[in-house]
């Protein structure tokens, strides 16, 4: 750099971040509150199930994953006051009644023979819905004003992908007969239907609403 006085563009040529975002402060806080609630329900369920699964490898994975989701809940808990919500508990809410029913149905399996159902609920339904809601948020929020949320989502998504892969592999390793494949599919369908009603982790619009884009000025 020959001349330190020479003006430079404040946004470097490779920095293509955009200012506009789809979410207001309020809307972001609402979503983050739902994320926190859902992550809490997930870590609590994983913690509770540890003692109910006889498979030693799965027991240890659940213990490991339990903490990751607790940490996600903590990240969201800390983000809420930065979004003008000084009482984080006020927004730590389920998106709707269907979400509550989803958690009830997901955490219903308890017996030691039901490891497939437990894992399917988490790794084939719940976590994929986290991944999609977080991805939508990541791709639609302001890359400048909401950078703290983006940073957290990036950390969290890394965990979600890792855990999803691990959970999916555990399920595949448990499925040994066509009947077990049916069991897994039936449970997944049952939960997915409740999730459909809930509209996703943050309620309807968790992953946006897919309508035809405006055709532009010439149409």
């Amino acid at each position: 750099m020959a001349n330190p006085q020479k003006p430079r563009a404040p946004f470097a040529p490779w920095d293509r971040r955009e200012l506009p975002g789809s979410f207001s402060v309020e809307e972001t806080a609402r979503r983050v509150g739902h994320y926190k609630w859902a992550e809490m329900k997930l870590f609590e369920a994983l913690g509770g199930w540890i003692a109910t699964v006889p498979e030693l490898d799965i027991k240890m994975r659940l213990g490991t994953h339990c903490y990751k989701h607790a940490w996600h809940a903590e990240l969201w808990h800390k983000r809420l006051p930065e979004l003008r919500e000084m009482n984080p508990e006020r927004l730590t809410l389920p998106a709707n009644d269907a979400m509550v029913r989803f958690i009830d149905a997901m955490t219903e399996p308890e017996a030691p023979e039901l490891t497939i159902e437990k894992l399917v609920g988490v790794y084939r339904v719940f976590i994929p819905h986290f991944i999609s809601a977080y991805t939508y948020h990541l791709n639609n929020t302001s890359e400048i004003t909401d950078m703290p949320t983006i940073r957290s989502i990036k950390f969290i998504l890394q965990d979600e992908f890792d855990d999803w892969r691990e959970g999916e592999m555990l399920i595949q390793s448990l499925l040994e007969t066509p009947e077990e494949v049916d069991r897994a599919a039936a449970h997944q369908a049952k939960l997915e239907k409740i999730m459909l009603e809930a509209g996703g982790i943050a309620g309807p619009g968790s992953i946006g609403i897919n309508t035809p884009a405006p055709q532009g000025a010439m149409s």
Partner: protein, 278 residues
């Protein structure tokens, strides 16, 4: 899934055989000489100098392994059993989730150490006393039972095993125990801090929790297997306990409990052995 799981429901594969503390105590045999005065005084301390050191270390390692499983389960259950806010603060539950991860690693470490020392999963009976004694339905009592009594015991056990590894020149054992010890000190600290915080304005509840801890501590002295006496296989790791936030009074109390438990066990063994001989 219900709240509060009874110990009999802890899920295990067929390799495991679970026994209760009552089963163990009904065993009239004893490694501790019932009449210490009349027998040639022999140390039961777990050191490499014992002729059966490898066998004893292997058995203790398996005990640690199943203890870690129960600690993992206990920490996980605290995340589930208590409603956030009303029954247990959010931060406390986050700590318990963190502990679940740590205990999961301890199970992994114990499995690797079991392979190293030549034992199989489930080779020894699993005493479920840790979960049974520590998992109270009151979150404060559970903290006292799990994070102070159980984790305190873990500190004593790991210190013994670390010293054993050091003396025997086993680099693998010493390395692993040192890492686990670091985690356990953190767990005790979590327990001490939360116990203080949660009962800040409730001295009655704090007293109850400490009494509960004392009962559990005595149970965990396992009929005399932990005390300052050489007749116990484990000692009391005062230095690490203090690091974890136990006061020296508390450590002396545990030392007293250990000696009491040892004497009671010896009396019990004398009685049972006399009965068996008649």
């Amino acid at each position: 899934m219900k709240k509060f799981m009874p110990v009999e429901e802890l899920a295990r594969d067929e390799r495991f055989n679970q026994i209760t503390q009552a089963d163990r105590m009904s065993d009239a045999r004893s490694a501790v000489p019932a009449n210490a005065e009349s027998t040639r005084r022999s140390s039961n301390r777990l050191t490499p100098a014992r002729a059966d050191a490898s066998d004893a270390a292997r058995a203790l390692m398996h005990g640690i392994f199943v203890g870690e499983i129960q600690a993992l389960e206990g920490a996980g259950r605290t995340c589930w059993d208590f409603t956030t806010g009303e029954e247990a603060p959010f931060g406390l539950k986050l700590d318990m989730a963190r502990q679940a991860w740590d205990e999961a690693r301890h199970v992994e470490i114990s499995l690797k150490l079991g392979d190293w020392m030549g034992s199989d999963v489930g080779q020894y009976a699993e005493n479920t006393v840790l979960f049974q004694a520590a998992c109270s339905n009151d979150p404060v009592l559970r903290l006292a039972g799990v994070n102070r009594a159980l984790e305190g015991l873990a500190i004593d056990v790991f210190t013994s095993m670390k010293e054993f590894g050091e003396m025997a020149g086993d680099p693998y054992l010493e390395f692993c125990e040192d890492w686990m010890l670091a985690d356990e000190v953190t767990h005790v600290k979590m327990g001490s801090d939360w116990l203080r915080k949660v009962t800040e304005n409730d001295p009655e509840r704090r007293k109850k929790a400490l009494e509960f801890q004392s009962i559990v501590d005595k149970m965990f002295s396992y009929g005399g297997s932990r005390s300052d006496s050489d007749e116990s296989s484990l000692g009391i790791a005062r230095r690490f306990r203090e690091l974890a936030g136990f006061t020296s009074d508390e450590n002396e109390h545990i030392a007293d409990l250990g000696l009491q438990a040892l004497e009671e066990r010896k009396a019990q063994i004398r009685e049972k052995q006399a009965a068996a001989k008649n």
